[in-house]
């Protein structure tokens, strides 16, 4: 086993860390306070990310991406994860599902998204379909060479910035021994298509400045040439390309937890009570032992899963364990961070209270903790059930 970081990886990490320090960290407080990112700042960060080759670095080199393997990618994600989510997301890692683009779709969607000329968003979730992705009710009905789409998506991240959406809709049903099963297809739908409306949802307490939207489709007509992948095979396309997506979130959480740990340690090492720094009290110091250990454990699970993804041997439960451990760890570390800072930790204008708020959503989106536990427990128990 080799845990060493290569010279190339270190060089990439050094550059990303400098980028984060110069371009992202100085704006965190203002973005959190306003819940918005000024348009000129948005443009600047995106332009700098493109210039530095960090934009779409998750894509293969043959389509103009950074061509990083999963291990290097997650090392980078840890660095980016240190910064405010809304800001670090401008260093876009577009949805890899776009690799399924074929023919004219490549020129229209894939390539301009990799160069940053266009922005994608990914739309499965609906008011009636959260963890139960197959519960979606948005329908696409064939009509000549078109499909007519009706339905509503919500919690669609950064759809306000996007130029087009990757939308999952029911296109039929198949008979199975367990009864009928929905057939789902994914479509590429441009904003501005008649019958497609996008509105912002109220601000969340986590990741202020990063917005969620409702996408409403009302007799929205889309040509069959806009099907991503194959008809009725929407989830197959998603599964083929989005396997390592949960690791990104896990790596982001590890990076942020490391930052919280440092921040809390600086506080504990300088705050004096009863004539000594509070780091000298066992009640405080032992918290750091647990925080550091949990952070390292989540890091190892994430990097192991990334390594397996590079070998082509990563399972769903590998990714689920990394996501579950990292997000729950971040929740605990952020909570202890607040506890260590005491009253100051809950004040609105200190970074710690922001980390605490931001940590909450991680256990919910991209598969709740309960869904991850379901995936892991099924993998453990299924072979033993009669």
């Amino acid at each position: 086993m080799d845990f060493a970081i290569t010279g190339d990886q270190q060089q990439i990490l050094d550059s990303v860390r400098k980028f984060v320090a110069a371009e992202l960290l100085p704006h965190e407080d203002a973005v959190d306070r306003a819940g918005e990112i000024a348009p000129e700042l948005k443009d600047r960060i995106r332009a700098r990310a493109i210039e530095q080759g960090l934009y779409a670095m998750n894509f293969p080199e043959n389509v103009g991406g950074g061509g990083l393997d999963n291990v290097t990618m997650m090392l980078v994600e840890k660095e980016l994860g240190r910064a405010s989510f809304a800001l670090q997301y401008l260093v876009a890692r577009p949805s890899l599902i776009l690799m399924a683009c074929k023919g004219a779709q490549r020129e229209r969607y894939l390539l301009p998204t990799v160069t940053g000329e266009r922005i994608d968003c990914f739309a499965i979730t609906e008011p009636g379909a959260g963890s139960d992705a197959l519960g979606i009710s948005t329908r696409a009905v064939a009509d000549g060479d078109d499909f007519v789409i009706n339905g509503t998506k919500h919690f669609i991240s950064h759809a306000d910035l996007a130029d087009f959406a990757i939308v999952f809709a029911v296109t039929g049903a198949a008979e199975t021994p367990k009864g009928p099963r929905k057939l789902v297809t994914s479509f590429l739908i441009d904003k501005g298509t008649p019958g497609f409306a996008c509105t912002r949802q109220p601000d969340a307490v986590s990741h202020r400045g990063f917005h969620q939207c409702v996408l409403a489709f009302s007799d929205c007509r889309v040509h069959r040439g806009n099907i991503l992948g194959e008809l009725h095979k929407g989830f197959n396309v998603a599964n083929e390309w989005l396997g390592a997506q949960r690791l990104v979130l896990a790596a982001n959480c590890v990076g942020r937890a490391e930052r919280i740990l440092t921040l809390a340690a600086e506080w504990a090492g300088s705050r004096k009570q009863f004539g000594q720094t509070i780091s000298r009290f066992q009640g405080i110091s032992f918290k750091f032992a647990d925080m550091a250990m949990e952070c390292a454990a989540a890091d190892l699970l994430t990097m192991r899963a990334a390594w397996k993804a590079d070998q082509g041997t990563m399972t769903q439960e590998d990714a689920a364990m990394a996501k579950l451990k990292a997000t729950e760890m971040l929740g605990r570390v952020a909570d202890e961070g607040v506890q260590i800072m005491g009253g100051m930790g809950v004040m609105g204008d200190v970074a710690m209270s922001r980390f605490w708020r931001d940590a909450r959503v991680e256990r919910i989106w991209d598969g709740t903790s309960e869904i991850q536990r379901h995936i892991i427990s099924r993998a453990v128990l299924r072979p033993h059930e009669r």
Partner: protein, 249 residues
């Protein structure tokens, strides 16, 4: 014009340096190493000269252990065209470094040599000056502003009490200071491209230089802990203390 820059691998400036328990040196195990920040400024200046059409080729040189090649890769990723690594596992003193650089300069024939004013590990601030002496070239040290025209370098030096403007006939040696520029950090595509740029390997023996140190380190120790100050309750008390205890006024 060819520009040669020398880059040294040092402990990263963010690392809190620890002295080994036996006092034989500084603990380097598991410590992050980086390019000397003043050398980064040297590389950046060379790149700017190339971007301005003044320099045509940038050659980065590093001397020391195998891992110095990582530092050279950073220089290549920033924008140097090729690199030379002089491999030596032991300690290299400024005079030896200057002699080795002189030997490389003899074959490379650069029109300008840019180095950091000092390395942040030993803070010697000698190599550039010794190199200029050995070559008999003009030197501009602590350069914070630079202009090249008509075969001359117009350099502003940061000296005690102000700035000094000097004119140097090229070829010349420049040692650069903090305020000359703000170095770029390498982009991802350039880091990838740097892997393919050539690093030539040399040894002190090939260059005809004896690397044996002339100095012996007796002991390395941490600076004494700063004692807590005292608060004075009036300006008069402060002046009295400065006069009588500190003896500075």
């Amino acid at each position: 014009m060819k520009v040669l820059v020398a880059v040294k691998r040092v402990i990263d400036y963010n690392v809190k340096v620890r002295v080994k328990a036996d006092g034989s040196g500084v603990d380097l195990a598991n410590v992050k190493m980086s390019m000397n920040p003043f050398d980064e400024i040297a590389v950046e200046q060379a790149i700017r000269l190339k971007e301005a059409g003044v320099a045509t080729e940038i050659v980065a040189v590093s001397l020391g252990i195998e891992q110095c090649q990582e530092t050279l890769r950073t220089a290549l990723a920033m924008g140097a065209d090729r690199a030379i690594h002089v491999h030596h596992d032991g300690e290299l003193e400024p005079l030896v470094v200057a002699k080795l650089l002189k030997a490389i300069i003899a074959t490379e024939q650069p029109g300008l040599v840019i180095v950091g004013k000092q390395a942040i590990d030993d803070d010697c601030n000698q190599t550039g000056q010794m190199l200029a002496g050995l070559l008999g070239w003009p030197q501009g040290t602590f350069v914070s502003r630079l202009k090249l025209e008509n075969g001359k370098a117009l350099a502003t030096r940061e000296v005690d009490g102000g700035l000094e403007n000097v004119e140097l006939t090229l070829p010349a040696i420049l040692t650069v200071d903090l305020r000359l520029n703000e170095p770029r950090y390498a982009s991802l595509p350039n880091i990838m491209k740097a892997r393919k740029k050539p690093i030539e390997k040399r040894t002190p023996a090939e260059l005809g230089v004896d690397p044996t140190p002339r100095l012996k380190t007796l002991k390395v120790s941490e600076p004494p802990k700063r004692l807590a100050g005292v608060k004075v309750d009036s300006v008069a008390a402060l002046v009295t203390k400065l006069k009588q205890e500190a003896g500075v006024i």
